[in-house]
Symmetry: C2
Subunit: 157 residues, 2 copies
Amino acid sequence: MLKEELLKKIIAEKDITIAVAESCTGGMLGGLITSISGSSKIFKGGVISYSNDIKINVLKVDEQIINDFGAVSEECAKAMALNVREIFDVDYSISITGIAGPDGGSIEKPVGTVWMACVDEFGVETFLSNFKGNRDDIRNSAVSLAIQVLYNKIFEM
Amino acid sequence: MLKEELLKKIIAEKDITIAVAESCTGGMLGGLITSISGSSKIFKGGVISYSNDIKINVLKVDEQIINDFGAVSEECAKAMALNVREIFDVDYSISITGIAGPDGGSIEKPVGTVWMACVDEFGVETFLSNFKGNRDDIRNSAVSLAIQVLYNKIFEM
């Protein structure tokens, strides 16, 4: 299904609340969710934590996590999703943190490396991707996967 | 100039920090800013305060403002921009709150009504628009205007 169709199914069938924590996508995921009329039924909002400062001071990610593992890491994605779920008091949360390029890549974490975490009442699940393409491609791929991850989590697939 | 060109000029020429507070655009403004490589130089992030609950509990907008004037009001736009500037500790902030439709309009505030506020160290400026078109048109118009407002404020035009 197209990502818009997945969102429409969530909105039509589920009585839940969702929040997002976005780094490399900068708000695109929230922008896509709210492109669907009726999204206010489920979407409360999110934090665009583009700088590490905001990850630490607004999203309350432990500074030690970023020092030890980096902002693009499973640990940071987990903390972002867990914390936004708590701060926004929602049922489901999803985080995205990655390297959209063209700069910022390394051998260990090349451009296209994206970590996500999705949280519900039962716990947290994480996802590592290595997307191909340019900055736009990588960010669009991340948003599409995030919608699929949310859908699968919400419909328990 | 195209909005991407305005953003590139800001990034290239100014040593400043920016944050956003988005309601009806749901993250699109942050998404657009971060579509430009190098935006991390100026953009710290933002709050997507799609629900009133998040405007009040995360952005710390006084509940009385929303009760008295509504979420789509000059007063709410002002509070959103002032508060995100303080919480994110940035030089410039901009807020967007409006009715993207197709539902939610009224005679006093028809679909397309959008309030924005832009804040710098000298104070707050507000903007009321009545955009035409469908949900996508209205949201895209709001994002384009927000970029122009930011540019004018930053370059003192």
